[in-house]
Symmetry: C2
Subunit: 678 residues, 2 copies
């Protein structure tokens, strides 16, 4: 036993922790695999003792550092290790009598952010993007990525061994149909939805082969240093932020479950569960949730499937009696037992692992198909959440103003010189300013800090290799957001470094016109975001232009920066916008190799009083507070109404934010928001 | 044998007809049940001889008159006969061991216009509307109609015996689930689609009963004077109008069938078949098609199921060798035989009678589910059809100008006097002016001629009982259209009789703004009408207003005035607009009890050249030529762009139509289309 461990044992005992150093050591791989939020990186220590003193903090930090020093999990090896890993996987498939295996990017929660131990696609192929699927057969292997990721995948993947396919041209299904040749294709039914499995079945069938659901993931068997599942501290989400008790939420959801003709619902989305139980955590980056499953009964009782070491004593004590933590490993057996006992289980076929539906059917039941009953209520923010969002946007806006004012001074002055402002410097400056707010917890996503032609890469992520200076006459696009206990922000502003060209101004102003057309829309209840989306595109369409992404996504309340069910998009959706929903409004335009323009603001759906209206009308309240780039606006392309709207918004931004700003920033903001009419 | 018959025999022999008087007499009930087009009411005589002389025409006309004199089919009895008919039907159900029966409004083609022998719902209940379903049980009977028809149904139906239900509140399914109580519910599987049958099955199941597909329709067994199936002359649709030979069309459709994974397609929509074979007829009113079915093989061969007495010798001779007429009665057996022989048959589950799918399955096959392969190609008009439509719109526009100019003179002057212009007079005046065009064949639908509060009834149909005068200060809404061999028109204009109120002007101008917003839309390929629909509503939404109907429907080329697959509507649709599609653009606003405003123009989807566009862009070409009502336009509510657009359109209307107009009409049009800018 090392000396540090003895010291730690002593400190833990003194602090009254129920854990000794051995228990802490057992916990640390999970902590290492979890996300330490920027604003509260030591929150994990609550798993050990509620308030550690300075000495204990230091000891714990040192202990974690040691684990972090060794634990890479092989994820950063890139394509270097591909040959070896492919061979190991093929050996394992051989042992299982399989001719192939499908490796999706998804984890068991079909989430956007995936914990290290579930980054199987990245480990196997080196590909680090947020969407993709690999298929490994005896002789062939391929990875399928969408248009955002073809270039990146070709750079990251060992293309000698794994073909990179653009999924818009070759789908995994087509490739399987062509290459499987009668074989047995394996898939892990925990990582695919029912529909996903059906697609693979059809593809295998076309190749006169069959799809085989595996027990356990064969890849896990050959990943020697696979990281631990994340363990972070689950903390209560205060009623002052949530605005509704978990008990009340569970009563509402229970009614919805009964109305859907079910006795209980199986929840597989961590953010649904975090909302329902009013808890948060940091198992994964950017979305402050504990990874977990739950079975919610119509009477409001909850079996909550998670590693219970994530529950600090204070959190555990705060749980309602009817909320029972259960080991994740028990989920499948519990669900099967419920089904066997005649409990009708609601399961969302769009998001639940196929395995759960299979388990219900194997037990003689039939899942009640329906949407996750939490998604829609969660999307409709209550008055407390909306007030929180407004407050968070004021503080976030003040930080953003300091950043934009700094950038307006520094970027043109240093551009072309020896130490120009770079994408990384800018992103770090903005994060540092956000961290000045004690309520700041984390970024909602990796900041997109994109100068010049990088702006045209819609999901650009700066790194040391790509880092680029902000040049004179270029556009700089910054898409960022913060996680605060009272709200989640997401804002994009595009600015011109020094004077823009007339062509840049025309394109920016068209994007702005679309942004305003959506912001000012008034529409009857029942209208979907799919119907409103063209308002944002019309000014671009008129010039033969468009953008290849959605106009708006839902945003959580100190939850995911992307949440459903609503979208404002070309993609068909039958979800009507409802009061309280928070969405982004983010049209853009991208010129490959030149620049990107995007203007993004969060808006809340709100009831609008229209004199003489013969029905209930809805509209948007703008939450984000940040001016549009004055030098990029061409007032000649704007109508009088549009100019008046911009001026009114700019006045609101100035009047709201100025009290929180230093003089230099306030002066810049005053100039930037002066009336366009002048 | 009567004397007239002897004479007719002689005349027929002299004219070289293959038919004698007895054969003509056998034909006449079918002719009586068919529609005699307004522009060519004697076309049916071609069934007997290609060009009858005056004496033969007179003899034939007299012969038909005699049949028409006796043949009512009991359809005009209204609700008077309900008790007797219900009792007869219940007796028949009893004999078949059924506890109930579903009577839809649909015929075997799921068509909008239904021939007399298939008007079972009207015969049984007296209800004459275009949509509804009755369900007759042992003790109860009910008819279910949508919001358009509740008032009319209560007036027409014997509500003592048949409950009138608003389908928005009580669906047939709910009612059946409540009332069937374990019984056997019959339905005629020729009159329901697969999905319709499934809905009824679910409903019967909820009542612990069962749905039974009947052999033959029990109602037909108790309808003593049921009319004959219509027999009208099938005539070629000239290549000069169609723009593509049937052979070329069949080659295209054959490819689509093969691509869908089928060997042949079963077509059940008469307009699909008429388009494919380049033929027209007048079996039903307003849509110039022969009622028929077809099986089209991937190699272009067609079995065409229709009463072959509809084929005059000239038409029969003009058919391609591979088009084989077959009796309608053979359809089911032929389909079953094909399925049994392994032919994979494409069937559109949205429109085909459930019976055909059942027949395929009973023969050991499985229908290939897919859209009717003709619908989309038919919707995309070729250059010849578009040129024809433009020509038809010029002539139709000239007739409409004469009507509007006449109305502008007569209506205010006679309003309030002893002989005001009435809705019927106006509708008849417009039809008479259209008939002045020798190419005019028929109305595309019953003219909606609606004064004052009648304008708020979206599907108002004037009759002697409802006929209303056009009053001073009222709005008059006229929605009408013509069928011409070169095109189908559909136009709505709303005018003010004398001076309108400011409130009327404001509402009209908002409708017009929406109409212009849609007309001027430019959008990328792949955009649906569902996405564009909000452009037309936004100016109304801004005032808290809306309209409860779609903004646009597809229009055929001398075919149905309503055709799919495209719509411009709140209803979700994934059909992208494609070049050549003709749609209506018809926003409106309705104030119950006061007036209705609708502005409707036909537009063709067309490729638009946008300088600098980075993709192919589409827009609309306006086909309809008729000014908007000058006195109803409030220029203060219009933007400069909107005024310029109206002025340009009005100039085009004036310059195009004036050469075809009398001086008085031309003078009125000049005033009505003078620049708004002045």
């Amino acid at each position: 036993m090392d000396e540090a461990r003895t010291t730690l044992d002593r400190l833990l005992a003194a602090a009254g922790s129920p854990l000794d150093a051995a228990a802490v050591d057992a916990l640390l791989p999970g902590v290492a695999a979890s996300h330490r939020q920027l604003g509260e990186p030591d929150a994990w220590m609550r798993l050990i003792v509620e308030r550690p003193d300075a000495e204990l903090r230091q000891a714990l930090a040192a202990r974690l550092d040691r684990v972090l020093g060794c634990a890479g999990g092989g994820l950063s090896a890139g394509s270097a290790a591909t040959a070896e890993r492919l061979e190991a996987l093929r050996g394992e498939l051989d042992r299982r009598g399989l001719d192939g295996f499908v490796v999706p990017r998804a984890d068991v929660h079909q989430g956007e952010f995936v914990p290290p131990h579930a980054q199987r696609l990245a480990w196997l192929t080196g590909f680090s993007g947020s969407a993709g699927t690999a298929v490994v057969l005896r002789e062939h292997a391929a990875i399928f990525v969408d248009g955002r990721y073809t270039v990146q995948a070709r750079r990251e993947v060992d293309t000698e061994r794994i073909a990179v396919c653009y999924s818009g041209e070759t789908t995994p299904a087509d490739w399987i149909a062509e290459k499987l040749a009668g074989g047995r294709l394996g898939c892990d039914p925990w990582l695919h939805t029912r529909r996903g499995v059906e697609r693979l079945q059809t593809a295998a069938g076309r190749a006169r082969g069959e799809l085989v659901a595996t027990e356990g993931n064969p890849l896990d068997a050959v990943w020697p240093d696979q990281p631990a599942a994340p363990v972070s501290a689950v903390v209560p989400h205060a009623l002052a932020h949530a605005g509704e008790s978990s008990r009340d939420k569970r009563a509402r959801i229970g009614e919805a479950i009964a109305k859907a003709g079910a006795d209980a619902a199986v929840l597989t989305l961590p953010d649904s569960i975090a909302w329902l139980l009013n808890v948060r955590a940091s198992d994964i980056e950017h979305t402050p949730v504990p990874l977990s499953f739950a079975v919610v009964e119509a009477d409001g009782g909850v079996r909550w499937y998670l590693d219970d070491r994530k529950l600090p004593a204070a959190t555990r004590e705060g749980l309602d009696d009817v909320v029972t933590p259960r080991p994740v490993e028990s989920l499948e057996a519990d669900v099967a037992a419920l089904a066997e006992g005649g409990t009708r289980l609601l399961l969302d076929p769009a998001t639940a692992p196929a395995r759960l539906g299979d388990a219900i059917r194997a037990a003689g039941g039939e899942p009640v198909r329906g949407s996750d009953p939490v998604r829609l209520p969660k999307a409709c923010k209550n008055a407390t959440e909306l007030a929180g969002s407004r407050a968070a946007h004021e503080r976030d806006g003040a930080a953003l103003m300091r950043f934009l004012a700094w950038l307006a001074r520094e970027a043109p002055e240093r551009a072309g010189g020896e130490a120009p402002v770079t994408e990384i410097e800018a992103a770090e400056a903005l994060t540092a300013l956000r961290k000045g707010d004690p309520a700041f917890r984390d970024l909602g996503f990796a900041t997109i800090s994109a100068a010049g032609e990088h702006g045209a890469i819609v999901h650009y992520r700066v790194g040391p290799a790509s880092n680029r200076a902000l040049g004179v006459g270029e556009l700089y696009l910054c898409d960022s957001g913060g996680q605060y206990p009272d709200g989640t922000t997401d804002v994009t502003r595009t600015i011109a470094v020094d004077q823009p060209t007339e062509a840049q101004k025309r394109r920016y102003t068209r994007v702005l016109k679309g942004h305003i057309a959506l912001a000012t829309a008034v529409f009857p209840e029942g209208t979907t975001g799919h119907q409103l989306d063209p308002f944002a595109r019309r000014p671009l369409w008129a010039a033969g232009l468009d953008y290849a992404h959605g106009t708006g996504h839902g945003v959580g309340s100190y939850l995911g920066v992307h949440e459903g069910p609503q979208v404002i998009s070309k993609r068909a959706s039958e979800t009507a916008l409802k009061p309280g929903m928070v969405c982004s409004n983010e049209p853009g335009h991208y010129l490959e190799g030149a620049d990107g323009i995007r203007i993004e603001t969060l808006v809340a759906v709100t009831e609008v009083e229209v004199p003489g209206a013969d029905q209930r009308m809805l509209g948007f309240e703008t939450l984000t507070l940040a001016p549009y780039c004055r030098s990029l606006i061409d007032p000649d392309l704007l109508t009088a109404d549009e100019i008046a709207w911009i001026d009114a918004y700019h006045t609101r931004v100035r009047e709201t934010l100025t009290p929180a700003l230093d003089d230099r920033t306030a002066a810049w903001l005053a100039e930037e928001t002066a009336g366009l009419g002048q």
